[in-house]
């Protein structure tokens, strides 16, 4: 196996070729914030939180999709990156209607935690209060678009893992929203297997069990990872 050596912050590392910067950093115990990324799903580099600086280049790279290369010098926590990460979180909060106090995911929400991590004690950008809907047509689950950050984890898990492709992204720009089927109510989409994987990987309270009330929803991304591990290694009884 070919190996390349690189430096992330103050750590000298040797990783197999093809390793992403995010994997390399995590192996070295260096934390890089992520939101759309989820181990077990394809990486789409959409949330921009994992951007890192490479010495010798002005262009920032998303750690989740950038392969480590020989001699790379990577910085994961510079003032420039901190400013971007805080702004990204502010943009996410202000483009939706995130009312933590009444959210099913309060206390277990990746967005809420990231706000803490980037030091967002308030948003410097104004809140937009968009008009968005809630889909409660599914028997077991609900989708609250007000809390959706369009990370597309649900789209990917349904497509890549469950194979049902119930979810996709409709419209564009600020009007983007997650759609089920061909824009039908979720409960009307026959392709849905009711597996709940989308709910488990949702980082916020956008997808939830109908029985959950505030603070009761906990995501379970580790179940996806256990499933993917079992599939890859054919180990179904750990």
């Amino acid at each position: 196996m070919s190996v390349c050596t690189l430096r992330i912050n103050d750590h000298d590392l040797a990783v197999p070729l093809g390793t992403t910067l995010l994997q390399a950093a995590r192996q070295a115990g260096i934390h890089i914030p992520t939101l759309c990324f989820l181990e077990g799903l394809s990486a789409v580099a959409a949330c921009r939180l994992c951007l890192v600086e490479l010495e010798g280049s002005d262009r920032l790279m998303a750690a989740c999709v950038t392969a480590a290369a020989e001699g790379m010098r990577v910085h994961t926590d510079t003032p420039r990156l901190r400013e971007i990460r805080r702004t990204v979180i502010e943009l996410l909060f202000t483009e939706g209607n995130h009312v933590c106090a009444v959210c099913v995911a309060n206390g277990h929400c990746e967005l809420q935690n990231l706000a803490v991590e980037v030091g967002m004690d308030h948003s410097r950008l104004p809140y937009r209060f968009p008009q968005r809907g809630v889909d409660l047509s599914h028997a077991q689950y609900g989708l609250d678009h007000n809390r959706c950050i369009l990370c597309t984890r649900c789209v990917r898990v349904c497509d890549e893992v469950e194979g049902a492709h119930v979810w996709d992204v409709g419209w564009r720009g600020e009007h983007c929203q997650i759609i089920s089927g061909l824009g039908e109510p979720w409960g009307d989409v026959n392709a849905c297997t009711h597996c709940g994987k989308c709910v488990e990987v949702c980082p916020t309270g956008a997808l939830f069990h109908k029985t959950d009330t505030s603070e009761e929803k906990q995501g379970h991304p580790e179940r996806l990872q256990a499933l993917m591990h079992a599939r890859t290694h054919q180990q179904w009884n750990p």
């Binding site: 909060f93 009312v99 933590c100 309060n106 206390g107 706000a115 967002m120 308030h122 809140y127 209060f129």
Partner: protein, 187 residues
Amino acid sequence: MSQATPRKPRLATVWLAGCSGCHMSFLDLDEWLLELADRAEIVYSPVGSDIKTYPKDVDIALVEGGVANTDNLELLHQVRANTRTLVSFGDCAITANIPGMRNLLRGSDPVLRRAYLELADGSGQLPHAPGIVPELLERVLPVHELVPVEVYLPGCPPPADRIRAALEPLLRGELPHLSGADQIRFG
């Protein structure tokens, strides 16, 4: 040798559009409130003072709630004009939070119609009492979208420990540096 005893910081707490939960949490400071009363002069507060008009020359003001109506707006401007350090106190002040959910109805008139006509039993009517009942603003806004704010104290409500962590440095005349889930998490 003897130096004049430094003046005690003048502290106010203000209640705009919020559920008063932040003030309840403030009361959860329990016995530390006695220390606070010793270290600061409480000059205006719905839970600690009978003064009805906002005084001048206030050092620290904790402002709870979003800005939802004309009274809120007027009071906020008085607070800003007469306060050195304005603390945006709790999620409603910082994000508009629950009161801000009415912004999804797009304007004060739809809100009043929804509340007093559509959801009313029998023959509802729109409230109208100029000078007595304050008019709703078109949108509930966070405090800092209207006036400058020095300190943000998030939480719904901010727990008592968090309030104390902010007040301790403020009483010493310093700005607090809050960080971490214990001190700045929303919700």
